[in-house]
């Protein structure tokens, strides 16, 4: 251990009772192992059985039957489609809008900036359940805001939550409303840290606004954008709360995401054996992807 800044020849007192370094992490690791690793091992065992909490029939070993069934489960593949659709649409729109607002706020006078940021990130502060109820009130067929507006302008009411297409849109709008601020906040913060010299040089060289944005500003923001997209993608992958509130997965599974389907399997129809197999499969795949990406982002930190 280097004691910097001490004159040569200083006699160092030996630190008393230096506990081994890993003592510091033992409490955390022990907690995580007890709470997550052991139950996961139990879950792996359960995934080879037909355990169902809905009946009192003792569980029996059925081998890889559960894993085989996953590939024939149309409801699962439909929920996967919905998840991927939400992920791509929301991510694209949130990024586009977030970038647009960030650039707009950044170009507005210094004095107002902080107040604007505080306003724009308000949706992010809403508890997801509250945001869900908030938008459900907007969509509500009888007296929801959108339908009153439509009637006011002489159009018919839209059955927002009982139509397969509209309900998808309803969910996506809610997520976009709540999480565009996240993209905005990160991109805006990134904009404050990038050096001005290259941007000014590009403008002097006659680059248009869009060219400067595309070839100078965006590459400088690369890291922030990657992190923002990654965090949003992971949140969208597990989208659950607002769907549970607004549509409950309906109508006709139109908005049932993977998380929602697994929750229904586990805690409504109580097919613990099958849902364990499903959870394990997704855990393995997502764990692998997450680790791969994390190592790249955090390696140098």
């Amino acid at each position: 251990m280097a004691y910097r800044g001490l004159p040569i020849g200083t006699i160092l007192k030996k630190p008393k009772s230096s506990a081994p370094s890993y003592f510091f992490v033992i409490p955390s690791i022990a907690f995580l192992v007890a709470i997550l690793v052991f139950p996961t091992i139990y879950m792996i065992m359960v995934s080879f059985t037909d355990l169902s909490l809905a009946s009192n029939v003792p569980m029996k070993f059925i081998g890889v039957e559960n894993y085989k069934n996953i590939f024939y489960d149309e409801r699962f593949s439909s929920s996967l489609d919905v998840t991927v659709l939400f992920l791509f649409v929301c991510l694209t729109v949130e990024f586009g809008l977030g970038l647009m607002i960030a650039l707009a706020v950044d170009s507005i006078g210094e004095r107002l900036k902080n107040k604007l940021v505080a306003i724009f990130i308000l949706p992010m502060m809403m508890i997801p359940i509250v945001a869900g109820q908030m938008w459900k009130v907007m969509y509500f067929e009888k007296a929801g805001f959108f339908n009153i507006l439509l009637v006011y302008f002489g159009y018919g009411r839209i059955p927002w939550l009982s139509n397969e297409t509209w309900s998808k849109i309803a969910i996506m709008v809610t997520d976009i409303w709540q999480w565009t601020p996240f993209m905005f906040l990160l991109i805006y913060a990134g904009l404050q840290t990038i050096p001005q010299a290259p941007v000014e040089a590009a403008v002097i060289d006659g680059a248009s606004y869009l060219q400067t944005l595309r070839y100078v500003t965006m590459p400088l923001l690369r890291m922030v954008i990657i992190v923002a997209i990654l965090f949003r993608a992971m949140d969208l992958f597990k989208l659950f709360d607002i769907i549970n509130i607004i549509t409950g997965g309906g109508p006709f599974l139109a908005t049932e995401t993977m998380s929602l389907y697994m929750w229904i399997l586990g805690f409504r129809t109580m097919e613990i054996g099958y849902v364990s197999a499903l959870a394990l499969l997704i855990l393995l795949i997502s764990g692998y992807i997450v680790n791969l990406i994390l190592r790249r982002i955090y390696r140098e930190r």
Partner: protein, 277 residues
């Protein structure tokens, strides 16, 4: 050119201020709108009720049957319990990952981080099996354990990013004077970074307060948190809007205050220390 740019910027900003704030305004004014204004087909937009009522708010600000104060108490106990447990476990671990080099530290810290990012639905099943096995469903401890599991990786990484910024010279001089590593952590690092600890504590509370999936699965009624109770109003949508809105308002206010308390470190907290804001 510059003028045109400013006009476009202002247009964008004004439009988004409206779309950001309007749903919040519309929803929370539901709490003072009289019941008649939304049970029937409505024809016109009521910006502000002509006869505001406190009927809904007084109904939910009670203990027992219809009241929400029981759930407010549950949420508070669970949020504080989670935060205490998280800080206790996370501080030494974050210190070790920030300062000490030991065998497997890199692998361990990465493993902990990846736990934060796995889909919660995959973790909720083993946790449920565990809690069910010990007959702890619908107890505070069940929810506190589950929330700690998700906050802990976050807390370790964010605290670590703060601890790294403390100049090592401070503890080194303490250790030269005979202080142990634990002593350095407790007497130097934690006091010096008390602002960071408060930040992480507030983030923990925000997480625990807002979390829905685990609270939903692990509670029935006596330990249910506010998000769970707010979600369960959904059965009788038409008549309960005022109550839903009032309960939501009550659940949201502390969170907004908390958010502004950690405003300075918001980005670091939201990205687990990957981006420093």
């Amino acid at each position: 050119m510059a003028r045109k740019g400013t006009i476009i910027s202002w247009t964008i900003v004004v439009i988004f201020i409206f779309t950001t704030l309007f749903p919040i305004y519309w929803f929370f004014t539901m709490s003072i709108k009289p019941r008649e204004s939304y049970v029937e087909y409505a024809q016109e937009i009521v910006w502000f009720p002509s006869k505001p009522t406190l009927e809904h708010l007084t109904r939910i600000l009670r203990f027992g049957q219809e009241g929400q104060l029981d759930y407010l108490v549950n949420s508070t106990i669970i949020a504080i319990g989670t935060t205490a447990l998280v800080l206790l476990l996370a501080s030494p671990a974050a210190y070790a990952f920030a300062r000490l080099k030991f065998k497997g530290s890199q692998g361990m810290s990465m493993w902990i981080l990846s736990l934060r990012l796995i889909p919660p639905i995959c973790a909720v099943i083993p946790i449920y099996l565990l809690i069910n096995f010990f007959h702890l469903i619908d107890t505070y401890i069940a929810v506190i354990i589950a929330h700690t599991l998700f906050v802990l990786p976050f807390a370790i990484w964010v605290l670590r990013s703060f601890f790294i910024e403390v100049p090592p010279e401070i503890e080194e001089s303490a250790m030269v004077d005979g202080c142990s590593r634990w002593g350095a952590l407790i007497r130097i690092i934690i006091p010096v970074s008390s602002a960071a600890i408060v930040t992480v504590a507030i983030f923990s509370m925000i997480f625990s307060w807002s979390e829905f999936l685990f609270a939903l699965v692990l509670t029935r009624s006596s330990a249910a948190t506010l998000p769970v109770s707010i979600s369960l109003f959904k059965g009788h949508m038409e008549i309960m809007w005022g109550e839903i809105s009032s309960a939501s308002l009550m659940a949201t206010l502390p969170i907004v205050i908390f958010y502004f308390m950690v405003y300075r470190h918001l980005i670091r907290g939201l990205t687990l220390g990957a981006v420093k804001g």
